[in-house]
Amino acid sequence: MLRRLLPLIIFVALGGLLFAGIQLSRHEDPGALPSPLIGKPAPAFALPELLAPDKIVRNSDLAGAPYVLNVWGSWCVNCQEEHPVITALAARGIVKVVGYNYHEVEPGDAPRWLAQFGNPYALILSDVDGRTALDWGIYGAPESFLVDARGIVRWKHVGPLTDEIIAHELMPLLPAKKVSP
């Protein structure tokens, strides 16, 4: 009899393992692909500012205060949807919101988009060829990063930000006191 029950016993053990797997995956946010950058210094960059291309912005220019790096492009439909949320976040003045303009085709596209929908960003980095985006592990838009005052990446979100995500994930990571913009 035991011989004939063996397949069942093996299956029950397998089922237990799969159940453990479900329990494990429950604790991770399945939508969030972990970024290897989290807990590490933000990648070094030197990018022109979108609206003042002569000015080059580096990591050191942003050090001293936390900032949210929001990746967007005028070609990105979801960024349009996300735009009011970003605008509201920037208006609260709790954290500096830096734009990361990515993969534009024509130089005029991004400024026109901002003129149409409004510009919530404290400043905007422009990455036309997408080389720096590789260092950040950006593979689409919108994506958002939180970088703290010491330049360490604290958090990453892939896809449009929503008020819930900001309230439950981003805000708890920010220092309680208001940072001057």
């Binding site: 004939r4 397949p7 089922g15 799969l18 797997g21 399945p30």
Partner: protein, 640 residues
């Protein structure tokens, strides 16, 4: 309005599936003819409503109905209309509906083509298939409704995952699923036999043609997936031992073992319990594959949106179906294996060896796939199991299989003088070894795999053809479709191993940085990079490179590898360019732009005989189809 009708159609299909499951199963236990007769019409009705639901979902894609959440997430009006169909099964909900549609089609086919079977048998088989269908319809309706609305309606949808925007992906899922789901038929026959209590050769004979067709479709499906990964991912590999690939490979291994053990059970009456167990295993592994892909338990490039709630549902379903089947097996499997006795030197022994090797291989893949999960659950840390483990495992297990394969057909059932097949095959073994030796001498710098590939290819092909010659020389013996199918499949194995070993031994792979005009030598070929131009596709922008390939003074091809950026999601995709030929592929993929002067990273591969890998798989599949046409299956079905 239509999407709501689609959901209604799914609910009606669920009710019919429940009817198809319960009445005939109880009717068969109690001997009530009227209840058993419900099975066929219920199966056809279920097919009708599932097809209706599927058609409505497809319609929602065609008319760009972005108020349907699933459409909005997977379709963009820039998407070429041809991908409209592929987009229907581009993500979890739709592919699940496709799964259900294919199950309904198999059920309908069984209902249609088994008129000659006794009523209780067909009632039980359709009843079991109805139970499986109930599970999947419930899964769809409760956790993954493809018709859920999205309010307010978005103005535009997110695009179909660009990885899936490819002709190969239009065909890969339906064929692969047809194979997966086809294992349900062999399973249903096995369970019907266990319910019946009469586990004899008949049920095996009835289920054999179905098993062969399902196995052939599974083979084509896996080959298509491998081919797609080869040209779409741009890494030049054709198999990655990715968990999702393994999920399709495990049922294939179990199903291959099943095909062989079914032949023994049908003809000799031996291995009855084993055949039952393999039928259950092949189906269980198909379900497990579905679970692994959709539960998020194992992450992979192929994974659908991971959702623990869905995972839990499938796990419970898995527990009921597989646990129930194995319990039934423990209670009702035949206690005495009263097949005809066989000597050590016999075809039964060889098929037993085949089964042991294939099931061990299957178990090894299962362990390798689940070990990272096990380690995680036991807090042993994070592991990933990769090609070194699988590669060496398969080398050990496939070597004896390759050596023994030609002996199988030449060895008689029950008892054989061991010297006879050895005498028949020895000349060909020598020919194969000489071929390998010549290859080794001709290309002393090539790895051992080169010589091995030639020797193994010769040995398997000539060894199989030796059987054909012997059979044709016997007067008065028919060469059956089953034998022809076996010949195709075994020659396919020869071509397959030949392709793998030669590709692995002689591929040339170069990653280089090039500027326009620069040349790269790879093997006998010269690749000249002619720069990159901007090009516009229907829903993407692309950097389109030009690479001209020549051999000596002769120009062979101009290849256009691309780097595409899809507008809706901004994803970057690599499109490789391949000049294919039976004996070699010339393969070029663009890497990243390097500098402002038009320099690019370029990946250049020369892959000899890589096509043989898929050609071998197609031959195996052809063998499966051919075998299923054997007249004996139909004749016996009528008598039975």
């Amino acid at each position: 309005m239509l999407p709501e009708l689609g959901q209604l159609a799914l609910i009606l299909a669920l009710l019919l599936a429940a009817l198809q499951a319960l009445l005939p199963l109880f009717g068969a236990q109690r001997g009530i003819d009227a209840w058993m007769r419900v099975a066929r019409p219920a199966a056809f009705g279920q097919l009708l409503f599932v097809a209706l639901a599927f058609g409505i979902l497809m319609h929602a894609f065609v008319v760009h109905d972005f108020s349907v959440a699933y459409v909005a997430r997977n379709y963009n009006s820039l998407l070429p209309i041809g991908y409209c169909i592929a987009a229907v099964w581009g993500a979890h909900e739709g592919s699940l509906l496709l799964w259900i549609l294919i199950l309904a089609l198999w059920t309908g086919a069984v209902a249609r083509f088994s008129k000659s079977l006794p009523l209780p048998v067909i009632a039980r088989v359709l009843g079991v298939m109805g139970l499986v269908s109930v599970g999947f319809l419930l899964f769809t309706l409760l956790t993954s409704n493809p018709f859920a609305r999205l309010l307010p309606m978005p103005p535009e949808g997110a695009d179909l995952n660009p990885l899936l925007q490819d002709p190969g992906l239009i065909m890969h899922p339906p064929i692969l699923y047809s194979g997966y789901v086809g294992t349900t038929v062999a399973f249903a026959f096995a369970i019907a036999a266990l319910f019946d209590g009469k586990v004899d050769a008949r049920w095996v004979r009835w289920s054999r043609p179905w098993t062969n067709v399902a196995w052939a479709l599974l083979t084509i499906g896996i080959a298509l997936g491998s081919w797609w990964a080869y040209y779409e991912l741009g890494w030049g590999g054709w198999w990655f031992w990715d968990p999702v690939e393994n999920a399709s490979f495990m049922p294939w291994l179990a199903c291959t073992a099943l095909l062989h053990s079914q032949a023994v059970t049908e003809k000799r009456g031996s291995f009855r319990g084993w055949t039952l167990l393999l039928a259950i295993a092949a189906f269980s592994l198909s379900l497990l594959g579905t679970f692994l892909v959709r539960s998020g338990v194992i992450t992979s490039v192929h994974s659908f949106a991971a959702d623990p709630a869905r995972g839990l549902f499938i796990l419970v379903f898995l527990g009921i179906v597989i646990g129930g089947s194995l319990l039934l097996y423990a209670l009702r499997a035949p206690r005495d294996d009263d097949g005809a006795p066989f000597a050590f030197a016999s075809r039964e022994t060889l098929i037993l060896a085949n089964n042991l090797l294939l099931t061990t291989a299957c178990a090894m893949v299962l362990i390798g796939t689940l070990f990272p999960l096990f380690a995680d659950a036991m807090k042993l840390g994070r592991y990933s199991v990769g090609p070194p483990y699988f590669g060496s495992m398969f080398f050990l297990l496939m070597a004896p299989l390759v050596l023994l394969l030609p002996f199988g057909p030449l060895t008689r059932w029950q008892k054989e003088q061991a010297s006879l097949p050895i005498k028949l095959l020895l000349p060909w073994l020598i020919v194969a070894l000489i071929g390998g030796g010549v290859a080794f001498v001709a290309m002393p710098n090539a790895p051992w795999k080169y010589a091995a590939g030639i020797a193994i290819g010769l040995w398997l092909a000539f060894g199989t053809l030796r059987f054909v010659r012997r059979r044709l020389a016997m007067t008065g013996q028919r060469f059956t479709a089953e034998m022809l199918g076996m010949t195709f499949a075994h020659v396919g194995v020869a071509v397959f191993f030949f392709g793998i070993l030669l590709t692995e031994a002689t591929s040339v792979e170069k990653d280089v940085a090039v500027v326009p005009g620069q040349q790269v030598e790879a093997g006998d070929y010269t690749f000249r990079f002619d720069g990159v131009q901007r090009a516009t596709g229907p829903n993407y922008l692309s950097d389109r490179g030009s690479v001209s390939v020549s051999r000596g003074d002769r120009r062979i091809a101009v290849l256009h590898p691309e780097k595409r950026r899809y507008e809706a999601g901004g994803q970057i995709m690599t499109e490789t360019a391949i000049d294919p030929a039976l004996n070699r592929d010339l393969y070029v993929a663009l890497g990243e732009p390097i500098d402002a002067r038009g320099g690019w990273a370029l990946r250049v591969y020369v892959k000899p005989w890589v096509r043989c890998i898929w050609l071998g798989a197609l031959l195996m599949a052809l063998g499966g189809f051919t075998t299923s046409l054997d007249r004996r299956f139909r004749r016996n079905a009528e008598v039975g």
